[in-house]
Amino acid sequence: MSILINKDTRLVVQGVTGSQGLFHTKRMLDYGTNVVGGTRPGKGGEWVLDGKVPVFDTVKIAVQATGANTSVIFVPAAYAPDAILEAADADIKLIICLTEHIPVQDMMRVRKYLDPMGARLVGPNCPGILTPGVSSVGIIPSNIAIPGNVGVVSRSGTLTYEVLYALKELGIGSSTCVGIGGDPINGTNFIDCLQLFEDDPQTDKVVMIGEIGGTDEEKAATFIRENMTKPVFGFIAGKTAPPGKRMGHAGAIVEGGEGTAEEKIKALNAAGVPVASNPEEIAEMIAK
């Protein structure tokens, strides 16, 4: 088992004809992901990647033609909010948006629209989801992870790869790795993933990688204390980040004294979550 994506995932790639879309669609196909189609308005009826992937004008048509149940979004920030709504409206149940730099007011509107609909959004500004050996949706390098019993959820991209790689070096694999993204307003959060991992029989331990900004890690700590029976290991990036500066991710900023690494580590520790001082230490903790 795994969470969110598995062998039943039928993926449609929104923005499949762009250079990023094409490149990663090929990678996902190579990994064995069931990519059933892509979309690009005005190019419906064409095929990409040597006739392996049909292109549709809209997600609605793609869903009708292929039975897609998951979408991944590779379209530019100006069009990504529309793409998210389009997927939800076409009854896609899991929408993974990789797009970076979406305006925050757009994301507030998108969330208000999505919340009553029952569609799950992962991201935006995230690397996607990887269920090692089964399915990859997004851009997580698949060669750095092996199947196993550790669930990984993270706000960061390469930092996650670092952890997956360190785990693999020690022969430890993961059930599913979810990048929830570094934006201040996103879809699926830590708590959602922690609950999914708690319920997933394949997952025995969970790694949670946070960073400065916001209070989602603190909320997750409360959730862990009250609801998790499986051990959780943490890492928080940005202990040395200066306040008031956005550290690459739109959401990684200490504002008005809120969102510091110290507070987050304190909250996690108080919830019984050991917090590593660097990413390699996480793997060592898990190995013990």
């Binding site: 925050v104 930092l159 670092e162 690459g248």
Partner: protein, 379 residues
């Protein structure tokens, strides 16, 4: 992107918020002329994108055009928190009976804009929030519905605003909301909104911060951007699509990925070192970007060592290695460099780097320790 007081107030005025008459000047002579045109007392206000202008002597009340000229000269000669003052705003002075705070920002946790008002205006609102939070009335705005009439009343009644001013307040609150929404602001603030001696409301100071991610559709604002006070290296990095933040330490860092870049800074700190910068070269950096990044790092005179921490995922290790080699051919330097390449094509990358004098490391901890030692001249 921060806007100047005068820019913010002009936007507010466009949406119906009353502001004092005023103009900006770049010279004392212009300031005098404006003061003459306005007549009466004026306030000479430095326009710099940092807080604490008042305490730094950047705001002065002038009773005559000559005084306005004199103060303008003094203020234009100032440097406030390291920033030169290039511009002063000359506003007609207002008699103040009372000062109110009014502001809209994003409440990240609630995923909604939050409208805040306080009868304790004129001072730093974060101070009020810290010491007497009950003095701040907060109303969340539904991002699809927008500000509603009743919410304006909740604010007005919440700060016990005299009823005679509720109609004016309604116009101002709605104007501020429209300014916030239509300009993709992350902050729109009037502080203070004053009650004048003749019992009207007026926005005498204003502040806006615009969402950088929305500048593609806020072209007019983008063109008004004042780059004074923005770090030169950070601007240069942006041109090459790199995210760079200047820090105070002596170890330059080049990392792919924001989270990993932060973690790299943290681990340097853990081993007694101090990062000179945050630098994310992004997911698919090419040779040119790597070279540009290296140049930016080395321009910082504090830098005593450089740490490359590259996780090969989408970014291939050999490509980054080639970029480093190319950059080093162009940029002659004796500063010691530590490189850690892991993941996709990292073997090939390491081979390419063998021809350089770079210090290599396999783990992040090892790389951090070696960088700290190198910066101390111990390696």
């Amino acid at each position: 992107m921060k806007l100047h007081e005068y820019q913010s107030k002009r936007i507010f005025a466009k949406f119906g918020v009353p502001i004092p008459k005023g103009e900006v000047a770049t010279t004392p002579e212009e300031a005098k002329k404006i003061a003459q045109d306005l007549g009466g007392s004026v306030v000479v206000k430095s326009q710099v994108l940092v807080g604490g202008r008042g305490k730094a002597g950047g705001i002065k009340l002038a009773k005559s055009p000559d005084e306005a000229e004199k103060y303008a000269k003094e203020i234009l000669d100032l440097e406030i928190k390291g920033l030169p003052v290039n511009l002063v705003l000359i506003d007609e002075a207002a008699e103040i009976n009372n000062e109110i705070y009014l502001g809209i920002t994003n409440d990240r946790g609630a995923r909604m804009p939050v409208f805040m008002a306080s009868a304790a205006g004129g001072v730093d609102i974060e101070e009020v929030a810290a010491t007497t939070p009950e003095k701040i009335i907060k109303v969340h705005i539904h991002p699809l519905m927008g500000l509603q009439n009743y919410q304006v009343l909740d604010l007005a009644a919440g700060i016990s605003l005299p009823r005679a001013l509720w109609k004016e307040f309604d116009v101002i609150a709605k104007g501020l909301w429209e300014a916030y929404k239509n300009n993709d602001a992350t902050l729109a603030e009037i502080n203070p909104l004053i009650i004048t001696a003749d019992n009207h409301l007026k926005a005498v100071d204003g502040k806006m911060v615009i969402d950088d991610n929305a500048l593609f559709r806020q072209k007019e604002l983008n063109e008004q951007r004042d780059l004074t006070g923005e770090n030169e290296a950070e601007l240069k990095a942006k041109e090459s699509d790199l995210t760079f933040i200047k820090l105070d330490g002596d170890i330059g860092c080049m990392v792919n990925g924001a989270g990993l870049a932060m973690a790299t800074m943290d681990i340097l700190d853990q081993y007694g070192g101090s990062p000179a910068n945050f630098l994310d070269i992004g997911g698919g950096a090419d040779e040119e970007q790597v070279a540009a990044a290296l140049r930016i790092i080395l321009e910082d005179e504090n830098v005593k060592a450089v740490l490359f921490n590259i996780f090969g995922g989408i970014t291939r290790g050999d490509q980054v290695a080639k970029g480093i080699v190319a950059a080093l051919k162009e940029i002659k330097t004796d500063i010691p460099m530590v490189v850690r390449l892991v993941g996709t094509n990292s073997e090939e990358g390491r081979e390419i780097l063998a021809e350089t004098k770079m210090i290599t490391a396999k783990t992040l901890s090892e790389a951090a320790k070696k960088s700290v030692a190198a910066a101390k001249g111990e390696l």
